[in-house]
Amino acid sequence: SQQGEEDPQALSIQEGENATMNCSYKTSINNLQWYRQNSGRGLVHLILIRSNEREKHSGRLRVTLDTSKKSSSLLITASRAADTASYFCATTAGTALIFGKGTTLSVSS
């Protein structure tokens, strides 16, 4: 069962531009997490936002959460070629995380 769904599925931008990815989910959550996956590697945790938070920053990352709309967005500012990766949102279901299918971001120089 898919809880989070990312949008768009794929995104191509130039270096220096901002990248925005969205995540929608279906049921109430305790928190929402964003992960990055580089090709051939495991997922790396980026940021966790709790249900009582509306916005969170970490370096060039900005995450927002709108629980009334059951949606979250991840903004990467001033993108770099090294940001090329797949990005996943994940929500909690008991002990486990449920991941969306991801957004593939390509940043060209």
Binding site: S1, Q2, N30, N31, Q33, G40, R41, G42, L43, V44, H45, L48, F88, T92, A93, G94, T95, A96, L97, I98, F99, G100, K101, G102
Partner: protein, 114 residues
């Protein structure tokens, strides 16, 4: 990087053979997870463990078994591999607070079943 090692990193085997994948952690985390990642499906939970000898099923547990005899090791076994189990398998760990804390992932095992 969190100390998580998956072995083997790549494996090719034949239908009907048993396969065991190993996840080893050096972080002393209580929770360990096995996921599979397939195109069009994202990551799906197979089994997880919340302590030594304590395991539970995930979303796609059919055809898989797990064991955890030590805190640091979590084994995933395919008793009789099928072609539908061709996938990339990821192990993850988290601390005592389970899914309300970040999970840390290994680099995966690419398993091909012919």
């Amino acid at each position: 990087d969190a100390g998580i090692t998956q072995s083997p990193r790549h494996k090719v085997t034949e239908t009907g053979t048993p396969v065991t994948l190993r996840c080893h952690q050096t972080e002393n985390h209580r929770y360990m997870y096995w996921y599979r990642q397939d195109p069009g499906h994202g990551l799906r939970l197979i089994h997880y463990s919340y302590g030594v000898k304590d395991t539970d099923k995930g979303e796609v547990s059919d055809g898989y078994s797990v064991s955890r005899s030590k805190t640091e090791d979590f084994l995933l076994t395919l008793e009789s591999a099928t072609s539908s189990q061709t996938s990339v398998y990821f192990c993850a760990i988290s601390d005592d607070r389970g899914s309300n804390q970040p999970q840390h992932f290994g680099d995966g095992t690419r398993l091909s079943i012919l």
